[in-house]
């Protein structure tokens, strides 16, 4: 199978505070909020003044994150002496604001992203347009591992893919989901699974859960 051992598959690590940065911009979705609270706690211990240069953009409503947890997470952000906390209804709304914040941001900014990979990927896509590099971005994967899949035949993106084989949202071809990841597209490559022998498909299994 051509889905393993591909180096472009992103590797994430637990977020750590980087107090060499002068400004700290934090994006979280759902359970990712817990990772941001952990980093803010680290920061408070190591360099309390850094909290005043930290800004949080957060989407509390997400699958697998209860309303109670969401409300508690937002409340804890608001207790801290941060330079700002903004709450959004969904990832798309957060990312619009994120882009306009980057437009006003200065060198010395560190970006922290915590949430599902599909969220991290779309945030990275925007960060790359601002020439932020690996020294300036930290990301921790938390939440559902469902993938965004790019159809290499019709270029449509199928969201929330949990299976090894998926039908393209647009052209309906059966796609094999590879580990081959595009940072530019923030998606995994999907290639037609039954091109050689139409209708002959490997067993469809839930693998990204």
């Amino acid at each position: 199978m051509l889905v393993t051992g591909i180096k472009s598959k992103p590797v994430y690590a637990p977020l750590r505070a980087d107090i060499r940065g002068r400004y700290h911009l934090m994006l979280g979705l759902g359970v990712g909020g817990a990772a941001l609270l952990r980093v803010l706690g680290e920061m408070q211990a190591a360099a309390p003044e850094a909290l005043g240069a930290a800004r949080v953009l957060f989407v509390p409503g997400a699958a697998g994150f209860s309303e109670g947890d969401a409300a508690a997470t937002v409340a804890r952000f608001k207790e801290l002496p941060l330079s700002g906390v903004r709450v959004f209804a969904d990832a798309a709304a957060l990312l619009v604001e994120f882009k306009s914040v980057l437009d006003q941001s200065l060198m010395g900014t560190r970006l922290y992203v915590a949430g599902p990979e599909s969220f991290i990927g779309r945030a990275m896509q925007i960060a790359l347009q601002f020439n932020l590099n690996k020294d300036e971005i930290r990301a921790e994967e938390l939440g559902a591992p469902a993938r965004r899949v790019y159809c290499i035949h019709c270029r449509a993106v199928t969201e929330e893919v949990r299976t090894n084989i998926v039908s393209c949202v647009d052209c309906k071809r059966w796609l094999l989901v590879r580990d081959h990841y595009s940072r530019r597209l923030a998606a995994y490559m999907g290639v037609m699974a039954d091109a050689e022998a139409p209708g002959e498909l490997p067993q469809v299994r839930e693998v990204f859960v």
Partner: protein
């Protein structure tokens, strides 16, 4: 780099542009064009003096799109070991020199959103070519150029003509100094800073940028060290099985070359790491003068950069 790969050039113009800096044009003896290069590249000029051969790195300052000849600027060094004095005193129009192909160890970042260039004195030379690469492009840039006094402002007329509105001058003589904090604290995301000039300037830029939270990958600098003069010492080359004496005013690399042993090199200024050589045995200390090895590697004493570093010892054995 070895002598077989050099290009024979003829000096077609020499101009004294400041009390310390001479400007040379070098055209290929064989005719045709010089090899293409990108802004920030340097060449090594091989000067065959009466007593010895000098090989010095100089940044190319001519526009990269203009390849009929190369231009370099040479500052007369007070404590010259001979190279810059040779260029100033013995090289004139019609002189022939050998040069090595250009190498770029100081390239512009291709996806930067803004470039801030900071030059001190003769450190303007690599920026002259980089500015031509940036000119007319979509990415914003600015040059901050600091010199002792107006008469020392090399290439200023060309800068003002070609880079109108992009150049800010600072004259020590008029008490003007770059506001490093103000400059580096207020740059948009995706900015890269580049600096070339005296060691103090480079350190100031690096320290200030780091203090403002810039990651190292956005900070670029180039400084070719001239090989410092030091005490004489002797070295044994393990593979060649010969002893070589290194006199006070000659580098280890030059001494080994004079003994007929070729060592690969690119910059001869302690920057590129190409001439890194293994130390087999040592009964004293290495005086590391390069900008390439990490402090940890320097203290291990297992490697030396023979272009600029020396030793204080009775017995040094190298893997050459």
């Amino acid at each position: 780099m070895s002598e077989a790969q050099t290009i024979a050039v003829e000096v077609t113009a020499v101009e004294e542009i400041t009390p310390l800096i001479k400007h040379f044009k070098l055209a290929p003896v064989a005719g045709g064009s010089m090899p293409a290069f990108s802004g920030g590249s340097h060449i090594v000029v091989v000067m065959k003096g009466a007593a010895r051969v000098h090989r010095n790195p100089y940044s190319l300052l001519s526009p990269p799109h203009q390849l009929a000849s190369y231009e370099i600027g040479v500052r007369r060094m007070e404590e010259s070991r001979g190279g810059s004095h040779f260029m100033h005193d013995s090289v004139r129009v019609g002189s022939r020199l050998e040069i090595a192909h250009p190498v770029n160890l100081f390239a512009l970042d291709k996806i930067a959103r803004k470039h801030v260039l900071i030059a001190g004195g003769v450190g303007i030379t690599p920026f002259m070519a980089q500015l031509e690469d940036l000119r007319g492009g979509p990415v914003p840039y600015e040059l901050h150029y600091s010199v002792r006094s107006p008469e020392h402002a090399a290439f200023l007329p060309r800068l003002l003509e070609r880079q109108h509105g992009k150049v800010r001058m600072y004259y020590d003589s008029e008490g003007q100094a770059i506001d490093f904090d103000g400059l580096l604290a207020a740059q948009p995301l995706g900015t890269h800073v580049y600096t070339c000039g005296p060691a103090g300037l480079i350190k100031r830029v690096i320290d200030t940028a780091q203090g403002c939270g810039w990651p190292d990958s956005h900070i670029h600098w180039e400084q070719f060290s001239a090989p410092p003069v030091g005490d004489a010492f002797d070295v044994f080359l393990a593979r060649s099985r010969i002893s070589v004496h290194v006199p006070p005013d000659q580098s280890l690399l030059e001494s080994v070359e004079a003994a007929g042993i070729e060592v690969p090199y690119l910059c001869r200024g302690g920057v590129c790491g190409f001439c890194q050589t293994g130390v087999v045995a040592l009964d004293g200390e290495i005086i590391h003068n390069d900008h390439f090895l990490s402090d940890a590697d320097k203290s291990k004493g297992k490697s030396i950069m023979p272009c600029v570093s020396r030793a204080r010892c009775k017995n040094l054995v190298l893997d050459l």
